[in-house]
């Protein structure tokens, strides 16, 4: 639906707190980070970029949990279930 690209926040823009610089594979672009004003963004954080705006801050923990789950796929079902729980996928509201 919407092309979103993960980019690393590598710089700020002087006197323009709404802006930040992201890097994608060594390529830099100024983007607007105002939609994440409540996220306490820091250099080194990764964000999802869409049409020049950062839409969300990417969680490395969540990513690693998914990868751990995928690693576990070759292993018995029980391990897999543990990995799945860690990855927090099962998102019934009550579980949050």
């Amino acid at each position: 639906m919407c092309l979103g690209i993960p980019g690393e926040l590598v710089d700020t823009v002087a006197e323009q707190p709404d802006l930040g610089v992201v890097m994608v594979s060594g390529v830099r672009r100024k983007i607007n980070v105002a939609l994440l004003a409540d996220q306490d963004l820091r250099l080194g954080d990764w964000v999802l970029v869409h049409v020049g705006f950062a839409l969300s801050k990417i969680s490395e923990d969540e990513a690693r949990a998914v990868l751990a789950f995928l690693e576990s796929i070759g292993t018995p079902y029980a391990d897999e279930l543990t990995a799945l729980r860690e990855s927090n996928i099962d998102g019934w509201p009550g579980e949050h």
Partner: protein, 373 residues
């Protein structure tokens, strides 16, 4: 290099559906092979992008009227005999914007572009013409820079500009400076290259990382506000081609991957030789910066123009020597075998993805557009 990972999808789909889909696919291929009809009443940007729209324009407007056995071959350069001498002859106009970009400018493009079209045809580039269309108001200083750059590029490629022309059009009648070059080369004895001669089993190589010219120019326009350490790959290929052809007898076809990028060249080969070309995505050399910019913009580097890279189709025996020659040549360090020629499905380019799937790499209609979805 396997074409599809059949291990997983072992089950066959319901017979009827597969048969129907197969019929549709065959109908589509018939439509694709028919002479295309030009539907537009006016020229659009797509007609100049080197993809399907350009081919349709050529097939519908130019070939029916100007066609002859030489022109009809639609190779990078025409092969002629004049006074008993085998010559190659080619032309290109250069309308790049901006005129100056990291790694080059319209001047060296205009020389290298024509030198390369001669070289990949198996000719030794010798003489160039230069036709300038200048916009009223164009800075003389910029013209001097462009011409100086042409002079350097000509010297580097060992060619001479022997005839020229200058026209000036009113402000608004051009975008600064357009250059046309035409070039003459003498065919290297014994060499016969043709896209149509690709055969199943041949290997497909590229001479270096792809898409750097196109990405550089796109970024140099400044509109995308993207900052990447990437420079144009503009370079003469004549030295590399000469080394390759002298060392490896099994080279079937060469093409410089300009407008439309490597994907377009591969499609041209697949169609001319009625074969399929199967590319291994993981093997295609792409610099991180090109990949990053392409990701941000949602475009595919396979379609992005190079101005100093070529695709080579080489017989099985010649593949390793060819790769060694290319890698030994300056600018060819990252040359790679990116795929092979297969018999089926004829006329199509397939890509084995990094992910292990298979998909088509078709011609684009026009330029790849930055997209948001």
């Amino acid at each position: 290099m396997s074409v599809a990972h059949g291990e997983v999808a072992q089950q066959e789909a319901p017979r009827g559906q597969v048969a129907r889909e197969q019929q549709v696919i065959e109908r589509i291929e018939r439509v694709r092979r028919a002479r295309p009809r030009l539907r537009e009443e006016r020229i659009t940007m797509a007609h100049g992008a080197g993809g399907k729209a350009t081919q349709t324009l050529i097939d519908a407007v130019f070939l029916p009227r100007l066609g002859n056995p030489v022109l009809d071959r639609m190779e990078d350069a025409a092969e002629l005999v004049a006074g008993g001498t085998r010559l190659a002859f080619t032309t290109d106009s250069f309308v790049v914007s901006p005129l100056f970009f990291p790694g080059g400018d319209i001047g060296d493009l205009a020389i290298n572009g024509t030198v390369n079209d001669l070289a990949v045809r198996g000719a030794t580039p010798m003489f160039l013409s230069a036709g300038f269309i200048l916009e009223e108001g164009f800075a003389v200083e910029d013209l001097e820079r462009v011409v100086a750059s042409m002079a350097r590029a000509a010297a580097a490629a060992g060619v001479q500009v022997v005839t020229g022309d200058t026209k000036v059009v009113q402000r608004g009648g051009a975008d600064g400076c357009y250059i046309n070059t035409a070039g003459i080369g003498t065919m290297i004895p014994g060499v016969r290259l043709a896209a149509a001669s690709a055969r199943p089993g041949d290997a497909v190589l590229v001479s270096g990382p792809i898409g750097e010219h196109g990405i550089t120019v796109m970024l140099a326009r400044g509109e995308l506000d993207i900052d990447a350490d990437v420079t144009s790959d503009t370079a003469p290929l004549s030295g590399m081609v000469s080394a390759l052809l002298h060392a490896v007898p099994g080279v079937r076809a060469l093409r410089d991957a300009t407008r439309g990028g490597v994907a377009t060249v591969l499609n041209e080969i697949a169609r001319a030789a009625d074969v399929s070309v199967v590319v291994d995505e993981a093997a295609v050399p792409v610099s991180p910066q090109v990949r990053g910019t392409a990701e941000l913009l949602g475009i595919d580097p396979l379609y992005v123009a190079c101005e100093g890279r070529m695709v080579a189709v080489v017989e099985p025996d010649g593949v390793q020597p060819a790769l060694e020659v290319l890698r030994a040549h300056p600018g060819g360090e990252q040359a790679a075998i990116i795929g092979r020629v297969a018999a089926d499905p004829p006329g199509l380019v397939l890509l084995n993805t990094v992910f292990g799937g298979t998909r088509i790499v078709d011609l684009l209609v026009g330029d790849p557009l930055p997209r948001i979805c």
